[in-house]
Symmetry: C2
Subunit: 323 residues, 2 copies
């Protein structure tokens, strides 16, 4: 952290986002790439991505000839979910009721797509620096016929721990963090957000229910309301850190679905990862390059330092405070 | 690849790099952060990083209290190696002789640091987009008392394959690629560069010797000269792709050293990875975000498409051609 920085500096986005722009394909009433007109939605709006990375029907590549060259068909669907009719708001600026609508929709889509697919990945790329190409608040949902790599690894680690200790790993973990306090950022009766012990991104956090919950749709009404509360508090702290709409990629992980829904999944604990790229300021990011790509993550600050910094920040958004 | 792109566009570097700038701590004759004056070097120049990420002496964190919270001391050294006295050249613009000097130095530092440390990671972050904070052509060498994650995984995969098939995995792989041709970019008598079958970055390549070689310092004179040749050809193609000094992170992997030098390492094959971030043009990169971070890499083009594109490009550098 003491290194002088003469490298790349991100330019802060100069574009002032308009509340409504009929040229923006995510706005109510706008025309999308495929010619469809969006409804005049009031809360969330979900539709199939016009440029999907996964297709429902794909050809079988046939048997492989060599152990080093193996391919398999991978199918799925890609959806986009708008969080709010206005383009100029983000989750921390939305009301608890509005955030709750997003959470309800997340549960609903997971349940629905999970009937057919093994893995339903909800993720949000927030900010241009995270490759987000549209300022309108939204996330994506990619459901696939296979467990993606990260899911497979989490499945294996949680299973190993469960076999050895008879308790879900992340339940043990949550209890330890609640007791130790030093990496916890914010918590309420049902949730905790911590900078994980193993964090690699500077202000990375993990958001977990305090009781054993396997999937988003296993949350009850109280837990959903409580999730809206902790999300608003965590994301407000994030925005307050550098007084900027804080960029990140986030996503939910829970027990597999589809034909894996009813196999033994007690080792799974629902959780979200928040992975923000900023390191020193609103314009200087952490570069995950050379050593990180080829060897191992190198941490510029400790999890405890990051957690302490986030913990101290106010829970009133700097934009609401200033206005 | 058909998606419209309205997201972040990198600004091309406007700074014209001067051949020599005494304010640049990597130039011959310049004063560095620690007050030392650089020698008037003619080829390469290597020194200890003034802001090292790894330290030679570190405290022992003591025993851990819980299986989920385990830390170990990690020590090492960080060096910086300048490739050339001039700041305005890059490897593809250097002569074969000069590139050979870099390769000789790489071998020498690996041998030297490998006496004490298990892993010697040579890597180059090229371009501002890859977090490189100094335009002077240089790489870094971080030697560590432990095998970093990527090294551990490569060690395990190569060992498993060797046990099962009795041949080093990457030797089998090289032979397959030489035969199939479709992913090979360039080769000569001793080396091959391919877009690997499993590539995740758009124009990712892997550079390997055709015979079984475990470490950089096991290369003979002919193989080093031949490596200079293939590096110049590959990196010229890279620069010609978007007519820009092509950014990437690259690094060398070979059998472990230090107290692991003499254990059974026949499964290891020396190789370099080149991981470039650009996707569509000199200013639009591939964002490894949301789905990639939380699930699995999503490929925007196939290895075969990338290899074909690189193969077709001329081996005369666009700047030499234009002048
Ligand atoms: O060592 P540098 O050039 O200051 O720093 C660069 O390379 C390091 C090693 O890959 C990374 O950890 C840094 O994030 C990056 O900015
Ligand atoms: O789907 P988008 O927003 O066009 O694209 C963004 O998210 C995808 C999924 O994380 C990535 O593969 C793309 O590189 C990124 O630009």
């Amino acid at each position: 952290m003491k290194r002088p920085w003469k490298g790349q500096v991100e330019k802060p986005s100069e574009k002032k986002v308009q509340a409504k722009d009929l040229n923006n394909p995510l706005c109510p009433g706008a025309v999308r790439g495929n010619g469809e007109v969006n409804p005049d939605y009031k809360h969330t709006f979900t539709f199939k991505n016009d440029f999907p990375a996964l297709l429902e029907d794909v050809p079988d590549p046939g048997p492989s000839q060599h152990p080093l060259f193996r391919s398999e068909a991978a199918c799925g669907v890609c959806e986009v979910m708008c969080f709010h009719p206005r383009s100029d708001v983000t989750l921390p600026l939305m009301t608890l009721y509005e955030i709750n609508e997003v959470i309800r929709k997340w549960s609903e889509r997971t349940l629905e797509l999970g009937k057919k697919y093994r893995w339903v990945q909800i993720f949000e790329n927030k900010g241009e620096i995270m490759g987000c190409s549209n300022p309108h608040p939204h996330c994506q949902i990619w459901a696939s016929s296979f467990l993606p790599n990260e899911a497979r690894i989490e499945d294996r680690s949680q299973k190993d721990y469960y076999r050895k200790h008879g308790v879900p790993m992340l339940i043990d973990y949550v209890n330890q963090e609640l007791e130790m306090q030093e990496r916890s950022v914010v918590h309420n009766d049902h949730w905790i957000a911590v900078v994980p012990y193993w964090a690699v991104w500077p202000y990375e956090t993990m958001l977990l229910p305090r009781r054993h919950v396997k999937r988003l749709y296993d949350l009850n009404d109280t837990e959903r309301a409580s999730l809206a509360d902790i999300m608003k508090r965590l994301l407000t702290k994030y925005d307050n850190l550098f007084e900027v709409s804080f960029p990140y990629s986030m996503g939910w992980h829970g027990a597999p679905t589809g034909d894996m829904e009813h196999i033994e999944n007690s080792h799974w604990q629902l959780h979200a990862h928040y992975l923000p790229p900023l390191l020193r300021s609103a314009t200087v990011k952490k570069f995950m390059v050379g050593y990180e790509m080829l060897a191992q993550a190198q941490r510029d600050l400790t999890s405890e330092q990051a957690a302490a910094k986030l913990r101290e920040l106010p829970e009133v958004h700097f934009m609401e405070y200033n206005s």
